[in-house]
């Protein structure tokens, strides 16, 4: 069980427009309200499954091979905030678009926080293992089409109500699937960064000389 008690404001503000923007009272108030709404509507859930490597089904493309180098097994992981969050954002898009934008950004922060908690729980469950970071379908050349395989292997639709559309969008939308390498001995904790990111050409943060933190 994962519960969220608060959301990282700084992160949310960065999603909303970069660190240079000065905050004001209206934004603060809106964010307070959105945070309260999200925390009460979120039903964070996650699942994991340890698989032995090599696993042909999941190692498609060069980036994932590099990412799992030196690992004997891997943790498949998925997490979601639940369907109510999508509904909350949908309703706000009708009644108050500004609120919808803030809810959307803060929900993105929330799912990342859930994933970080899941990382911690995994590390606790396997104290003698070394982990690489979470790598998701859609990163670098890792095919988005693998969403379906991830969800099936984890039995995610049945266990946590997480599924994908025909075009591989996760539903509920504030959800993540990922794989993290595990090793008996220390591994180079592959650096994340712009190199593997599909948005590197269009990224607003990069244009503003910032970094999204990934």
């Amino acid at each position: 069980m994962i519960t969220l008690n608060s959301l990282n404001r700084r992160e949310a503000l960065r999603y909303l427009g970069g660190a240079k923007v000065r905050q004001n009272e209206t934004m603060d108030k809106l964010m307070d309200e959105c945070e309260a709404q999200l925390l009460s509507a979120a039903r964070p859930k996650f699942l994991y499954k340890i698989i032995d490597l090599p696993c042909a089904e999941l190692t498609v493309g060069e980036d994932i091979v590099r990412h799992l180098e030196g690992c004997q097994r891997a943790a498949l992981l998925c997490a979601t905030l639940g369907a109510e969050i999508d509904r909350l954002i949908r309703v706000a898009q009708i009644s108050d678009m500004a609120r919808a934008v803030v809810l959307d950004a803060m929900a993105s922060v929330a799912i990342e926080q859930v994933c970080q908690r899941a990382d911690d729980l995994l590390a606790e469950a396997f104290p003698d293992q070394y982990f690489t970071f979470r790598f998701s379908p859609g990163y670098g050349d890792y095919p988005i089409e693998l969403q379906k395989t991830f969800l099936t292997l984890l039995d995610a639709p049945r266990k946590i109500g997480l599924s994908a559309t025909d075009s591989y969008l996760l539903i509920p939308s504030k959800s993540v699937t990922a794989i993290a390498g595990m090793s008996d001995s220390p591994v180079a904790r592959q650096r994340r960064g712009c190199a593997v990111c599909n948005l590197r050409k269009t990224c607003q943060y990069r244009k503003n000389g910032e970094h999204c933190g990934f």
Binding site: L13, L16, G17, G18, K20, V21, R22, N24, T26, M27, L30, R43, G82, A83, E84, D86, R87, I89, R90, V91, Q93, I94, S95, M97, A98, R99, A100, V101, V102, D104, G138, I144, P157, R158, I160, G161, S163, A164, T165, D166, S167, Y168, L169, I171, P172, S173, N198, L199, K201, T202, N208
Partner: protein, 792 residues
């Protein structure tokens, strides 16, 4: 043995888990466990046999995931897997009087509105399975989490077979399914749809199911089904923690709630079924006694009509110019805004009427119902004079709706009531017939009696018939008011039906209508009115209902009343501050101030001067600051919304004085086929709207042909497309190609009339140009700049 014989038994014993036995046997399979039906039929038959020997009356064939979506890469067809699955189970039954169920689980894709699978497509998946499973004795739907998907399944079963149906859903510890369905809504809806038994399976152990079962039993007379997990699995060993003896003990505690069908789900084995059999030998079935009053529901919310409940009347184009325009423009958001504001005004049920000569009412009804259900939990009342529109609405409704309406005419009775029965709805019965509206209370009461008799003859419970004794205009016929109230009283006391009444007609032609309406409403409530159809946003009306509920002792300790009024701020139009300028109001996103300042300005300044010299420059200043990262996107939107308020004030002023239209041109926006992430498109829409453009929003997951057709029909030459995923960029390209190839959208020289702008997270300028777009817009602000360049 057939199903009815089975029902004679005290309890019906179902089987335990198939998956658990497959797992324990170590059997290897490619793709999915259902393929074992063909690769290892003997093994599957032996599992069924083990359950039958343990005492199961019914075995579920190994067909849970045998649908076209899940079997896509399996190398087998749905027909092959299902036929083999049923044959294996039948074989296990040889010489024993056990029955075989065609077992059907969720498709594996989420339905609209959360997902992209359409209700009608879901129906087709289930239909294929049901046709493939003709050899089974009955049909089971299980592990469902979406009531909408389950409704598609039940309809597919009813329309393509005559087999009995068992339906079970899976609930979380929170007491809801993943999609938010409540046990009460599930029981209400499924009972209406005419399944033979309903209940729960999977997810929880029997020790945790009591609250779910206790809630279901209040809303149905049908036998309940419990097929629980053997507790929780250990994440490492995958062993479940409730052993057979305790499992049977926990199930025993659920029997008083009307449970008749009992088996096991994940983690259970033949030993569990054997224990259940031993336990049940000394027990007696205790049928459900539905205790709830008349009720209707959405997928999440049941409204029990055990006191006056407000039906909101505003989703109806009659006499409403803006609403008609919204229908003609396909402006669904306008209708959704009305839905949300009525609910916040106090409506508990919403009437939905989209009848308008210029539109396809059937299509529009389906579209509007689906859209309202995606944002609003209130149950809906489907309102049309056309039976085909009613049926289309009933099919796509998620829950138990009200049909508005049937009347005493033979034509109406024979067309509408069968629909009400088939789709398990409630119905409003109007007390009029071929002879018109009877003048006397007796005449109307007689018609009410006839409607109730006809409904009951079809198997519709009279608790589901809400009689409307019809409000006539008091200024035309003063005595008629008394007749209406007399009829209402008799229907309530003598027929025992719930009553409903459209109220506002009473005051037509009189001054101070609100006063007449609210007084009449109070009189009608005292005579037994249950469902006033009113404008919930007029506080005198909703307030009369709230006050009545206090005074008649329905609202215990006045809790609802206090909650409604305690912290309500006194409605007060904000006064414009002395020094508030339009620029400041827009820049700071102060909506009501902006409107007030605009009103004041209109007294002295030309409307178009306000637009061009004040509003637009103010918006531009906000836009520039956004580009320079001085303000956040939500602030840009708040400013734009304020400008919208100001535009609205100006539009109203212009329509009064019959002046020019302020629209700066029409633009289509759409999120492309396959893509359902549309928040970016919606932001673009709000901004374009606020800058004075007329936006035709076609929504998300939009077929290229619809975009082309709309452009041609409405002669629109500017189109905005969004796509969020690399996988849906292809649809964007297809859409652009179709626009370019459509002769009606070409100039005489063959060049394209349309300017297309595109945006979305994964899109680049280069790619946008490559797929033939005219403009690439980095963000919503750039879309506005582009619109200015193209349309001015």
């Amino acid at each position: 043995m057939d199903f009815n014989t089975l029902l004679q038994k005290e309890f019906v014993l179902l089987d335990g888990a198939m998956g658990t036995l497959i797992q324990k046997s170590g059997a290897k399979y490619n793709h999915s466990p259902e393929t074992l039906n063909i690769t290892q039929p003997g093994l599957i038959t032996s599992f069924h046999r083990a359950y039958i020997e343990a005492g199961a009356d019914i075995v579920y064939a190994n067909t849970f995931g045998a649908n076209a979506y899940k079997l896509a890469d399996s190398g087998y067809s749905v027909e092959e897997i299902i036929a083999a699955g049923i044959a294996n189970a039948k074989k296990a039954c040889e010489g024993i009087s056990a029955l075989v169920a065609l077992d059907i689980g969720p498709i594996g894709m989420l339905l609209e509105p959360a997902g992209s699978l359409r209700f009608e497509e879901a129906y087709e998946y289930f239909k294929q399975q049901i046709l493939a499973g003709q050899d089974a004795d009955f049909i089971v739907f299980e592990t469902m989490t979406d009531l909408y998907e389950l409704k598609a399944a039940v309809l597919a079963a009813k329309e393509n077979s005559s087999k009995p149906i068992l339906a079970t859903m899976t609930f979380e510890r929170s007491g809801r399914t993943f999609t938010g369905v409540s046990p009460a809504a599930a029981a209400t809806t499924l009972t209406g749809l005419g399944v033979n038994a309903l209940g729960v399976n999977c997810s929880l152990g029997p020790d945790e199911l009591e609250p779910v079962i206790a809630e279901m039993t209040q809303y149905t007379d049908l036998p309940l089904i419990v097929k629980a997990n053997a507790g929780l699995p250990d994440p490492n060993s995958n062993e479940y923690d409730i052993l057979p003896g305790r499992f049977a003990e926990c199930v025993k505690a659920l029997l008083p709630y009307g449970v008749k069908f009992i088996g096991g789900c994940c983690g259970t084995t033949p030993e569990y079924i054997a224990e259940l059999k031993t336990m049940l030998a000394n027990e007696a079935y205790q049928p459900c006694q539905k205790s709830a009053d008349s009720s209707v529901c959405s997928a999440s919310t049941v409204v029990e009509i055990n006191g006056p409940r407000v039906i909101g009347e505003r989703i109806n184009p009659t006499g409403k110019k803006l609403f008609k325009q919204a229908l003609a423009d396909n402006n669904i958001d306008y209708i959704l805004t009305q839905a949300l504001s009525q609910v916040s005004g106090g409506a508990e049920i919403l009437d939905v009427n989209v009848g308008h000569p210029e539109i396809d009412e059937k299509k529009m009804m389906v579209r509007v119902l689906k859209a309202i259900q995606s944002v609003c939990d209130a149950p809906l009342q489907i309102d049309s004079t056309k039976p085909d529109v009613l049926e289309a609405g009933l099919r796509c409704y998620n829950g138990k709706p009200i049909v508005n309406s049937v009347n005493g005419e033979e034509k109406s009775l024979s067309a509408v009531l069968p629909l009400v029965k088939k789709y398990g709805a409630s119905v409003v019965g109007l007390t009029l017939d071929e002879g018109g509206i009877p003048k006397t209370a007796e005449g109307r009461f007689e018609i009410a009696k006839r409607i109730v008799a006809r409904a009951e003859a079809l198997g519709i419970d009279r608790r589901d018939v809400y009689i409307d004794c019809l409000t006539l205009t008091v200024s035309a016929e003063q005595d008629a008011c008394r007749e209406t109230l007399k009829a209402l009283h008799r229907v309530k006391t003598e027929l025992g039906c719930k009553t409903c009444l459209g109220v506002s007609n009473i005051s037509f032609g009189l001054p101070n209508r609100e006063l007449v309406n609210s007084t009449f409403l109070t009189m009608a409530l005292e005579e037994g009115l249950d469902l006033p159809i009113i404008n919930p946003n007029i506080d005198a009306m909703t307030g009369a209902v709230r006050a009545y509920r206090v005074l008649s002792g329905i609202d215990k300790n006045s809790l609802d009343f206090i909650a409604s009024y305690n912290d309500a701020p006194a409605a007060q139009k904000p006064k414009a501050q002395e020094n508030m300028t339009l620029d400041a109001a827009v820049y700071n996103g102060l909506k009501s101030e902006g409107a007030t300042v605009t009103e004041q300005l209109l007294e002295t300044v030309e409307p178009m001067v306000i637009v061009n010299e004040m509003l637009i420059p103010a918006l531009d200043r906000v836009g520039e600051d956004f580009e320079k990262n001085k303000i956040f996107l939500p602030q840009l939107i708040q400013s734009a919304n304020t400008a919208q308020e100001c535009f609205d004030v100006i539009k109203k002023h212009l329509s009064k004085s019959g002046g020019d239209n302020v629209s700066k041109g029409k633009i289509i926006v759409a999120t492309v086929k396959g893509d359902i992430h549309d928040i970016g498109k919606n932001i673009v829409k709000v901004l374009l709207d606020n800058y004075g453009y007329t936006v035709v929003d076609l929504g998300k997951d939009v077929d290229p042909q619809l975009i082309v057709d709309t452009a041609v029909e409405q002669n629109i030459t500017m189109i905005g497309l969004s796509a969020l995923m690399t996988t849906t960029l292809k649809s964007m390209e297809d859409t652009i190609r179709l626009v370019r190839q459509t002769p009606a959208l070409q100039n005489p020289d063959g060049s394209s009339k349309c300017k297309i702008f595109v945006g979305g997270a994964v899109l680049t300028k280069e790619y946008a140009m490559k797929i033939g777009a005219d403009f690439y817009c980095r963000d919503a602000k750039e879309s506005v700049d582009t619109a200015k360049r193209v349309l001015g």
